[in-house]
């Protein structure tokens, strides 16, 4: 159903606010060249009309407050509402970012505490809260690696090894850093094969980027051996910590031999995301990399906290001000509320939930990499597709009719017709049972009523969109006809 825009609803003369008429006409006090020749073409509506317009659109939004959202690798856990209250406190939300340090001691203390806690959770020596997203954390870490190599006069290293299961942002970050990507083919079990890594390593390798657990939801069981090999060859190892939800309080990237790691506050630490942010991708690094972290850093001076800008080896700023501060506030609140044992339970429940779904669906759907998974499981619709012509995309669209957000599809790339399911720890057994039941029903309908799936979704405000036309001939903004 096409939704009329505010422009469609506009009626000349309607206003939200009636301004008193000005004592002077604009022509009397503004220079002629500063006056508009014609009025701006803005929609004209009353305030209730605008409020209802947006409230209605908001009601059509598919969101984690309303629906199960098992979007793999995105950790769409429920975000406690108390975080909003804390982040909305005037002392945080109305603090000016350039307030003098002595007027911002509370905010500095919160950031300092969050840095310390994240360092403990990640097993790292120092943390920067500045990167505003996961990919920004990757990029920042690679720049830190590069600064470290450069500081030792080692400028021949231009290659970064990235497994074929990696998030697409990994190779993109490498390219943005001015380096070249070497793709590493995963072993039979979906994990990094040290034998293949040995062939890829060399004295021109700057780093390995490794996601643990991987995007297949598998723990990299040979991570110690793998990381030691990279160090032996003079490279550094970066941990894509997007899947940290599986490890909280049980295993630490620092103990696995990683030199840097990013963590998504907007995934693991339960700050809202989707719709473009804001997110936060703090990075943790080992001590030898600390001098290169983004500036400024929080330091203690004369019993108070202060920003230290005098950091000659720093790669500089990677984000305006100090990162997305109010996201940090929510993450601080989440850690404070859960405590150490609470965070450990988060990981246990997240892994248990993913395995419950895996075990319940692995008879009906393909499970290309069998066995116990971590926080997510990757199923495949390959057998279903070969038998019925129903593809992963059709399954995803049909789930929308049942009020379930689709899993991540067609990723990781090494799994054909992939459906990557991450329930997170915040879903009830009843919610997961409903999902499992609907997945079984879809598998049956694929054989019995395939048209129902080809034409899905049927119940959503917008039916199936033409993705090909949208990508080839995008209409990126509204135009007056």
């Amino acid at each position: 159903m096409a939704q009329p825009t505010l422009f469609d609803k506009s009626q000349p003369g309607k206003r939200c606010t009636q301004m008193p008429s000005a004592a002077m006409a604009a022509e009397e006090f503004l220079p002629a060249d500063q006056l508009r020749a014609e009025a701006p073409r803005l929609p004209e509506l009353s305030e209730p009309e605008i409020a209802r317009h947006y409230a209605r659109l908001a009601g059509q939004n598919f969101n984690v407050d309303a629906n199960f959202y098992p979007l793999g690798s995105c950790t769409m856990k429920y975000n406690p509402k108390v975080h909003e209250e804390i982040a909305g406190a005037a002392g945080f939300s109305r603090l000016h970012p350039s307030a003098p340090d002595e007027c911002a001691q509370g905010a500095l203390r919160l950031m300092r505490e969050l840095e310390t806690w994240l360092a403990q959770i990640l097993g790292m020596d120092a943390v920067s809260l500045q990167p505003p997203a996961g990919a920004a954390g990757e990029f920042t870490s690679l720049r830190v690696f590069r600064a470290w190599h450069d500081s030792r006069g080692d400028t021949k290293r231009t290659r970064v090894i990235v497994p074929d299961t990696a998030h697409g942002t990994n190779p993109a970050s490498v390219a943005r850093c001015g380096w070249d990507v070497t793709v590493l083919k995963s072993g039979e079990d979906g994990r990094v094969a040290p034998e293949a890594l040995a062939d890829a390593l060399g004295d021109d390798v700057a780093a390995l980027m490794l996601t643990n657990p991987s995007t297949l939801g598998l723990f990299e069981t040979r991570v110690l051996e793998v990381n030691a090999m990279v160090h032996e060859a003079g490279g550094l190892v970066y941990c894509d910590g997007a899947n940290m939800n599986a490890l909280l309080g049980h295993a630490r990237p620092g103990d696995m031999g990683f030199d840097a790691v990013h963590v998504n506050l907007h995934k693991t630490f339960s700050t809202p995301h989707g719709g473009g942010g804001p997110g936060a991708g703090p990075i943790g690094v080992v001590a030898k990399l600390e001098p290169f972290l983004p500036s400024p850093r929080i330091v203690e001076r004369g019993g108070a906290l202060a920003w230290d800008w005098d950091r000659p080896e720093s790669i500089g700023k990677v984000q305006a001000w100090f990162g997305n501060f109010l996201v940090a506030v929510r993450a601080w609140a989440y850690i404070q509320a859960n405590g150490g044992e609470g965070l450990r339970q988060v990981a246990r429940d997240a892994v248990l939930a993913a395995n419950y779904i895996r075990a319940s669906l692995q008879e009906t759907w393909d499970l290309p990499y069998p066995g116990v998974c971590m926080h997510e499981c990757v199923l495949s619709a390959k057998t279903l597709k070969n038998a019925t012509g129903i593809r992963a995309a059709d399954v995803a669209k049909r789930l929308l009719d049942y009020g379930i957000h689709p899993p991540t599809m067609y990723f990781p790339l090494i799994v054909e017709e992939a459906l990557m399911i991450e329930p997170t720890e915040t879903e009830s057994k009843a919610a997961m049972d409903y999902f499992i039941e609907m997945m079984q029903e879809i598998a049956q309908d694929a054989a019995g009523r395939p048209d129902l799936l080809h034409e899905a979704p049927h119940e959503t405000p917008v039916r199936r969109v033409d993705e090909v036309a949208a990508a080839r001939k995008p209409i990126l903004r509204w135009r007056e006809e």
Partner: protein, 128 residues
Amino acid sequence: MDFPEDRKYAQTHEWAKAEGDVVRVGLTSFALEQLGDIIYLDLPEEGTAVEQGVPFGEIESVKAVGELISPVTGEITEVNEAMMDDLDALADDPWEAGWLLVIAPADLSQLDGLMDAAAYAEHCEKEA
């Protein structure tokens, strides 16, 4: 799976067909089926040097982005501009109208190292 026998095939699913002194290059129907609907194609310009085994362009579908890898070393002498305006031709007719490039190879015998239709069919069976 049946593939035309008048050309050679790379493991990365490009076909290479010798036409006199030059080599015409395209993507196989198997690759296009795997990719799904194509939404974007990035090809280099005429005159660009290409190297066997090295990417020369990118292809993007609704599912994924893939690299296009040159089956021979040489210089590009022709790019299928007409097809760029109508990407459906790529999937509709990958063996003829949907060709990508013509390359003047440095050494035509590089084609001997590629797979024939039967070997390629076997390669695809394994991947399917």
